[in-house]
Symmetry: none
């Protein structure tokens, strides 16, 4: 067997890719097989397996099926290139962001619950028209969220680490969130963003404003958020911990809508991920420059 084996979850393995092997969820390949792997695609959220990297002496490239790469970093062997799945999930996450904001402001969540009792409870909703939406994180996800919200009449303010055209620098964040109707968290999890949304951050948000987290659960200090509810409201696709235990107070906190980390997970994901993996493997085998490199060799 050649040294350039590609190992990927079965559902993400491109069709007709030479020297490649798919694995089923939970299945662990034999060590002698892992030893041949040069290009590794770890499994998706439910069955994390970054520790396999240590069993791959010939590993050259790790292509993640996610945009976030924080969980892979501690397992990445020296000299191995780490690529993320930028471009695969952003639009799905933007869709969910738009859908959950509208759901919360128009009471679609309440309406869904009322169906069980056949309860018709008409209430005036809140519109996105003219809403000031501060998007924290001006990468692929944040940009797509902005692109989806502007046509709905929102005034979108993008905030990145440093200022550039169309993006405010992080130093403007305290001022911007103080007049926001919605604050969307779309940052990567880093030392700077972990715990960034604390009591002081939440206190700056106006009464009745909405915090949306589609980044990572630990960007928000959950206890501080619980204290701030229901003065502000929250839509959370990510929480800490995940899955959220059934007796966690967030489930029943007023003004909260929780979705089970489904931001990037749509039928578009396997299709776009297979296309990305196919491109990357061919690029790697041709010795050309990979896309989406987050840690160089």
């Amino acid at each position: 067997m050649s040294a350039e084996l590609v190992l990927a979850p079965e559902f993400l393995l491109p069709e007709n890719l030479p020297d490649s092997l798919g694995y089923a969820p939970g299945e662990v390949p034999e060590e002698r097989m892992l030893a041949e792997v040069g290009f590794f695609v770890p499994d998706y959220i439910d069955s994390p397996n970054p520790e396999w990297m240590r069993l791959m002496p010939r590993l050259q490239v790790v292509q993640l099926p996610t945009v976030g790469f924080d969980a892979a970093l501690p397992h990445l062997p020296e000299g191995v290139t780490l690529c993320n799945a930028a471009g695969v999930h952003e639009q799905s996450t933007a869709e969910l962001t738009v859908g959950t904001i509208i759901a919360r402001w128009r009471g679609i969540d309440r309406a869904a619950r009322n169906m069980a009792d056949g309860r018709w409870d008409h209430r005036r909703g809140r519109s996105l028209q003219g809403a000031v939406v501060v998007i924290v994180g001006a990468g692929g996800v944040g940009s797509r969220i902005g692109d989806a919200l502007r046509p709905l009449g929102c005034r979108v303010e993008m905030v990145g680490r440093s200022a550039r055209k169309g993006v405010w620098g992080a130093e403007r964040l305290p001022e911007l969130i103080a007049s926001a109707d919605v604050v969307v968290l779309a940052v990567p999890l880093t030392k700077e963003t972990e715990g960034m949304v604390d009591a002081a951050f939440l206190e700056r948000m106006p009464d009745g404003s909405l915090l949306v987290n589609v980044a990572r659960g630990t960007v928000v200090i959950t206890d501080d958020l619980l204290d701030a509810l229901p003065r502000i409201e929250a839509v959370l696709d990510v929480v800490e911990p995940e899955p959220l235990p059934s007796d966690h107070p967030l489930w029943s906190a007023p003004g909260v809508l929780i979705t089970p980390h489904i931001g990037g997970d749509t039928d578009a994901f396997p299709r776009l991920a297979r296309e990305l993996i196919d491109r990357q493997v061919r690029t790697w085998r041709a010795g050309a420059a990979l896309s989406n490199v987050v840690v160089g060799p």
Copy 2:
């Protein structure tokens, strides 16, 4: 007092507008006050007062808070400009349409229900990227729905009564719905549209496609829809009858999301109406060309 008084319902009166006066619902200003009015905003649906126009000898502009203007026409004095509120209501319905489609396809409705039991039930959703959305009704509401869906990657097909640029004629409807992922009903209720969505219409829709009704309940024959579920799914903001009785089978039909006729009902109406009135008054005072003119001077 100047001749250029603005008279508007209190809840629609822009802040800090010079030479303006608000009136409470049911309150009739003194005739000598009406005689000074140059710009008049009649009351909203509940307390019609178009007959005041006849008491305004200096009247130049009537700015309606509604899109419909048929009720004002018989009262409009010769030479007075009539403007409607196009742009004030449509977007709220478009928002709800986008929000409920995403809610259904991403399982936000299921997630909202699961919160009561603290159940974390991660499932893959369906993305709007590449979805074929047929919008039946190419008026203000239908157009705005299209404008909101295109940035999400949908292929939007508009269908009107007759073909025009960017709009298919009604004769193409059977063919278009046969390859639709989503069919949105955004038609006015007329003899032609009442009962339009019957068994034959529903049978043409593909397995797993979604019917969205933000028009009027009687556009759909409910019994036929119940027969078509869950082969197709449905999002219904309008039903027949309203309110839907608590024991109606639609409430528990599989693949259905019902919202209680909240399409146009948001906080955006008073706010956008105030903004429109403010712009129009300033334009009028500057002697420039008004927007939304439905009857010229």
